[in-house]
Amino acid sequence: MKGSVIVVGGGTAGMEAAGRLAEEGFSVTLIEKEKELGGHLREWHHLFPDRRPGSEVMSYLKKRIEKVNVITGTTVESFHKKGREFIVSTGNGNSIHGDAMLLTTGFDLFRSERKEEYGYGIYENVITSADLEMMFTKKSVRLKNGEKPERIGLLHCVGSRDEKAGNLYCSKLCCVTAVKQAIELRETLGDSKVFCFYMDMRMGGALYEELYREAQEKYGIGFIRGKISEVSTNINNRLVVKAEDTLAGRPLRMELDMLVLMAGMEMSQTGTRLAESGNLKTGENRFFAPADHHFGSNKSNVKGIFYAGTCTAPMNITETISHARSAAADIAGYLKNSK
């Protein structure tokens, strides 16, 4: 055996990296706090830009980990380094030993109820992008009263680029998610009106811009440059939103049946806890800070501890898989040289 690796977090990054390391002949233990592997990917109906079902990626990842020792439903309470060895203490009182650690603790979705002005958790038809994705999975996009929504708004940057929320960074995926979901709403609901309220359209990924164009030209989705300032309901229980159309230079008030909040990404609570207990450096954005943004994006400030995926910054599935593969390569190099 070439060495052992403990991977903390069984989402996309954890599964991909664990699978790759196991393929290389390392002994890999993957610890996941939930009962099922997959992380946020499990909740995703379709992925952008090509609308591949999330389940296809899940199937691929599951095949990758056949040689991995998987422990689910178990939290990592703490870890320490003894000589070159890492000892992880789990919530059920076990200790797991390894020669290297990979943290793939992912992200937590921004808790949209923190933006009180949008009334998530108060107004029944204010939902999040994750809620909508689950509606797509169930093939039932409906209002709380069971009726079909006819006018739907999607609000970008909920909890991202927001000083009041303490998140100055861009979550990067919300714009394209909104475009994808807007198209899917039009396809699912037929003659509905769909509006995206945005600050800037950040369509930097491969085929994103094309999707944005298609949303406008083929699906007639309205893009309004301006954030919603407040949400309320009228006497018919319809949502009333106020916004500013910054291109037209005028305030706007609109009635909607449903409002979808494009919730941003935040450092996970597990990641934050492990950063504090393990003296791992975090950035201003509170995600794990890589040792070097250009040459060591998988390395931490502690020798033998590595990162992959969205515990370091918002990234999409494609980037997460690439990042996980590079982490596996870094770990293989580390174990080879430390023997």
């Binding site: 109820e113 009180e116 107004y123």
Partner: protein, 353 residues
């Protein structure tokens, strides 16, 4: 509307409100417009609850109206407020009870400024000492008087005589609650329930049997907005804001509007008169206007105080329709009579009378 969601928001904005020994500071306008409100507050706390409430005769304006009208500089406002704190220290009090929402906003803004910019605090200490020889302490507890009535709302419920139930229909009265912008919009953590779903007034209304109306322009300004009104040329803007708010609440047919800011009460009351005079507009049910009450006036009503002792007759929109719904019988002959029996002039063209 999911009430659990609101309760979660409220749970995040709980503030400590002192229980006793209040240094009470007055408003510039409230005693003149609604004298019964202050009298109820002082009487209820001192005589009904047995609390110690102290007023210092040397207390002055907080300069809030001048400050928000851009004619009093912030350093002056800070020094004036520091003088009030000095009076409080000299009087042996640590809990300040502020009766005006503009003042409450001024005090919270200053305390937050001093917290984040300690140099401002030191500068203010120096200014006050040089000008008056006084020194001050920062209050241990700061509450708006509506916070204090909110704190004791259940004591009021326990003695309630006229709950907020429509005696004619048996249904809860529909209450529009409107908190002043400067109560919590600048610093949500200083307001009970925060700024988006404030609890201070809705908590009272619900405790006393009413049903709170959530309408689209619930968060909108009452129309005062200081310069919107203080600059004469802007007064049409002030009025149009108030009309916008009332048009939004009109479909719900509210029975009353409940306020905690002297300015809001004045504008939501008096602009209804103006809108009716100018355009014939009314916003209540049956073509009537909507009575606008302070929280102390409402507390007094549910406890069975005489509406004319509470000063309801000094509003532009008269409250008789509300009194009838609550089952409160009044002697209209006493309405404009002083306590010693003298008849005061009777206003003409009263709304809702």
């Amino acid at each position: 509307m999911v009430n659990e969601g609101k309760k979660r928001v409220w749970s995040e904005y709980q503030k400590e409100i002192a229980d006793d020994h209040f240094f009470y500071v007055r408003s510039c306008i409230r005693q003149s417009f609604y004298p019964g409100s202050e009298q109820f507050f002082l009487n209820f706390l001192r005589n009904d609850l047995g609390k110690d409430v102290y007023e210092n005769p040397s207390h002055t304006t907080c300069t809030g109206i001048g400050y928000h009208g851009d004619i009093v500089p912030f350093s002056t406002t800070q020094t004036v407020v520091a003088r009030h704190f000095a009076l409080m220290k000299e009087s042996g009090y640590k809990n300040i009870a502020i009766s005006c929402v503009t003042s409450f906003g001024i005090y919270t803004e200053i305390l937050e400024t001093w917290k984040h910019f300690p140099a401002e605090l030191e500068k203010t200490r120096e200014y006050l000492f040089k000008a008056t020889g006084r020194e001050f302490d920062i209050p241990e507890n700061m509450a708006h008087t509506s916070d204090i009535i909110y704190k004791f709302r259940n004591e009021i419920t326990a003695k309630i005589k006229y709950p907020l139930i429509n005696r004619l229909t048996g249904k809860p009265l529909k209450v529009v609650e409107h908190i002043g912008c400067h109560y919590a919009k600048m610093f949500p953590k200083h307001g009970v329930g925060g700024a988006e779903f404030p609890r201070v007034l809705s908590g009272m209304a619900e405790a006393w049997g009413g049903e709170v109306v959530d309408y689209p322009e619930r968060r909108h300004c009452c129309g005062f907005g200081f310069r919107q009104y203080l600059v004469q040329a802007n007064r049409g803007y002030s009025l149009s804001n108030t009309v916008k708010k009332f048009e939004s609440m009109k479909p719900y047919e509210p029975d009353l509007v409940l306020t905690n800011c002297p300015g809001c009460n004045m504008f939501m009351d008096k602009w209804q008169y103006t809108a009716k005079e100018m355009e014939g507009m009314t916003f209540g049910s049956n073509g009537q206007s909507i009575p606008v009450l302070t929280y102390e006036e409402l507390a007094g009503l549910v406890l069975g105080y005489n509406p004319w002792d509470l000063g309801l007759q000094y509003h532009m929109v008269q409250s008789e329709p509300l009194l009838r719904k609550m089952g409160i019988e009044v002697d209209s002959g006493d309405k404009y009579r002083t306590r010693d029996g003298r008849q005061m002039p009777i206003p003409k063209n009263l709304i809702n009378a």
